[in-house]
Symmetry: C2
Subunit: 420 residues, 2 copies
């Protein structure tokens, strides 16, 4: 089953929003064995929509359309869909009742005609209920292709996909199994890894695809394969991984399909009944934000002091102002004290600190843009490092966050092996 | 000039990465007057790449291709490009020297054959230097369409675009002016705004396009127009905005093309020489992270205490444990004390606090998932609120962050008007 995703909206084309809906849909379809072959983004424009629908009809079995719906956008997209399907828009009483309920219970603002108009749907379409909003999903078939149109607001679209669309696709079609396994590595570049595992790659079962995904100092290796027989394909991929792991054991962090490095770290800490705190400066809360974006982080994450101003490093963490003057606020000396003091203040087993200059200009620190000092205080010692992460602010912050997780992960493994 | 963006990579189709390159390219092209009409994503697959190139050739004047390059990916994409352009790959000595320099100065790992192979380029292509990596950009023309292929690693692609591609496009083509103005509003839904400004919208100059972009409790109104005459189009859009502003003055936050609400808040604080600190719990550092993602935030942002564990609220902020037990950690009483104590501890003029349950399960708090209490301590008083932000963890956190900025923005405006 070949799928195409069409996202509609001028805001996508001018880059005002990043199209994250496509990634969500791609991931959801992959999981149930539907292969996405194309993603197309077009503007709120009748001609472009008609052309995209026609092309998708010719090359895909399933077409998911998001965007272009909503009280002020309905017009073009729905009329164009009606034109494409030789259909007309009719009032759906069930959708109207749902909208009226929604307005009475949650929105609590006057129900306007434009809101009621969202109950106008294609007469040939089957309705997929939108629990989180007023614009319903529509399922409509043409020449053996299934088209599903959904609103573009991510959490409305997601509820339609998970509660209505996926169950229906699984029930209606015999879908193959797609197995994707991603191995996260750290510390070695893409080409060095490729050279190291070249023999393994050359002998890889041809039904298994291998991809290298480098990003901010980490390389992910993705193995994927498709088959109707679940056991067979899982076994094949597992065997390939069993052969691969010994070759990369020094750089292997974990499997990323199931978990990110944040959750791997979290589980290691929870297992040992240990806790983590942070003293962040140049990362500005980004490490804490990443940790707490995952449910369950309260089991091991205690606190972060984002001591952005130098004065806070003195007044709250009690670091000597003279020492800061002497070494500079961006220094391993200050980083070590930040981590030590945070560990003591928050009574945690581990503490990580960051102090650096994320740019774009050198302000308080004397170090050039991109310099980041970090320290890690653990139950067994304290370590500090200085890194140079380039000149882009976003990149400096993200690399520092990744590096913090890498340092902590290595330390947790080291301590675990000591305990054995 | 009509542009198409083609992004190549299986990882995009299976949703392993969100394609942010397209948004960056869309924004960059819009700014110089090139209209993006299509964005297409395809896998690392010869047939799909050939079909996409052919289609783009037929409908676009400029085709930007990202991805599919890099030491382990080069093969398919570059060979397919050579096939499409009836060209062959040749060693470019200048690119090779650049790669050798890069490895000697920065990478400091052995230079492998796969790295050297990145200097193999299309013989007909002009090279766009990649300052940040080894795979160069290639500019090649066919049937009056300009094709530009670039690596997919965002910061490599971005350096090619800003330093090589955009200057060249501006020089080589007479580009029209595209004016996009985005007005950020808060506090009123999309349909209510639409009804309120219906008369204005009906009288809007037909060359100006209006779009409603709702997201997490805020609606953006985007006006856009295109013309060869810069002054004329800017005047037209400005007149439309002048007519619109009086209709939405109670919900208007600011212009978003130039600045986000974070930078608007930052400038208000800097102008008044005032400072901000935070005591975050359920937002887990996300408010600090958003503020510090902008350069210059150190001029007004002092610190955030991410007091994730209840014990830290007691031990570091000195909130009475009995009071927390009595009211629950998710309560306006606790929020008020968090903000008050943070303001005192960090000696800031304003302090915002968040305490809530982001879900997915109720842990320490007795309040249901999605409940968030916030307080804002200002020089003139302290205010607290309780919100219900739904059941999705990501959404609860993001809505709380947005709400914090909204509360602070309104307070800053109120205090500003008092001072007049």
């Amino acid at each position: 089953m070949r799928a195409e995703i069409i996202t509609i909206g001028d805001e996508i084309l001018i880059g005002q929003i990043v199209d994250s809906n496509s990634a969500y849909l791609g991931k959801s379809l992959s999981k149930i064995g539907v292969e996405v072959k194309y993603i197309t983004s077009i503007g709120d424009d009748r001609t472009a929509i008609l052309a995209a629908l026609k092309l998708a009809n010719s090359r895909a079995d399933l077409v998911l359309i998001t965007g272009g719906l909503g009280p002020t956008k309905d017009d073009i997209t729905k009329k164009t869909l009606a034109e494409f399907f030789h259909d007309k828009l009719v009032l759906n009483q069930k959708v109207l009742s749902h909208i009226e309920d929604l307005w009475k219970s949650f929105i609590k603002q006057p129900l306007l005609q434009v809101n009621k108009d969202q109950a106008m749907v294609l007469s040939k379409a089957e309705i997929l209920t939108n629990q989180n909003g007023s614009a319903p999903g529509m399922w409509i078939e043409k020449d053996q292709t299934v088209f599903v149109s959904m609103p573009g607001v991510p959490y409305e679209m997601k509820s339609i996909v998970s509660m209505e669309l996926l169950p229906r696709l699984i029930q209606q079609f015999q879908l193959p199994i797609i197995v994707n396994k991603t191995l996260l590595t750290q510390g070695l570049g893409e080409s060095m890894i490729a050279e190291r595992i070249a023999d393994w790659e050359n002998q890889l079962d041809p039904s298994i695809k291998l991809a290298y995904l480098p990003n901010l100092g980490r390389v992910r290796l993705r193995l994927s394969s498709t088959h109707l027989d679940k056991q067979l394909v899982e076994l094949k991929v597992q065997r390939a991984i069993d052969d691969l792991l010994p070759l990369i054991q020094d750089i292997f962090v974990g499997f990323e399909d199931d978990q990110s490095i944040e959750t791997i770290i979290g589980e290691l800490l929870v297992k040992k009944n240990q806790t983590l705190s942070l003293a962040e400066s140049c990362t500005g809360g980004a490490i804490a934000e990443r940790l707490t974006s995952f449910p369950g982080s309260s089991r091991y994450f205690i606190a972060s002091l984002v001591s952005y101003a130098t004065a806070i490093k003195e007044q709250v963490l009690g670091i000597d102002g003279q020492l800061i003057k002497k070494h500079g606020v961006v220094s391993e000396e200050v980083a070590i004290l930040m981590a030590t003091r945070a560990k003591a203040l928050f009574k945690s087993d581990y503490a990580i600190s960051t102090t650096g200059n994320a740019g774009p200009t050198t302000s308080e620190g004397r170090e050039p843009v991109g310099t980041v000092c970090m320290a890690l205080a653990s139950p067994t010692g304290i370590y500090s490092h200085t890194f140079q992460f380039g000149t882009s602010r976003e990149r400096v912050i993200n690399k520092a966050v990744n590096k913090a997780f890498e340092l902590l992960y290595n330390e947790l493994l080291k301590n675990a092996s000591k305990e054995v």
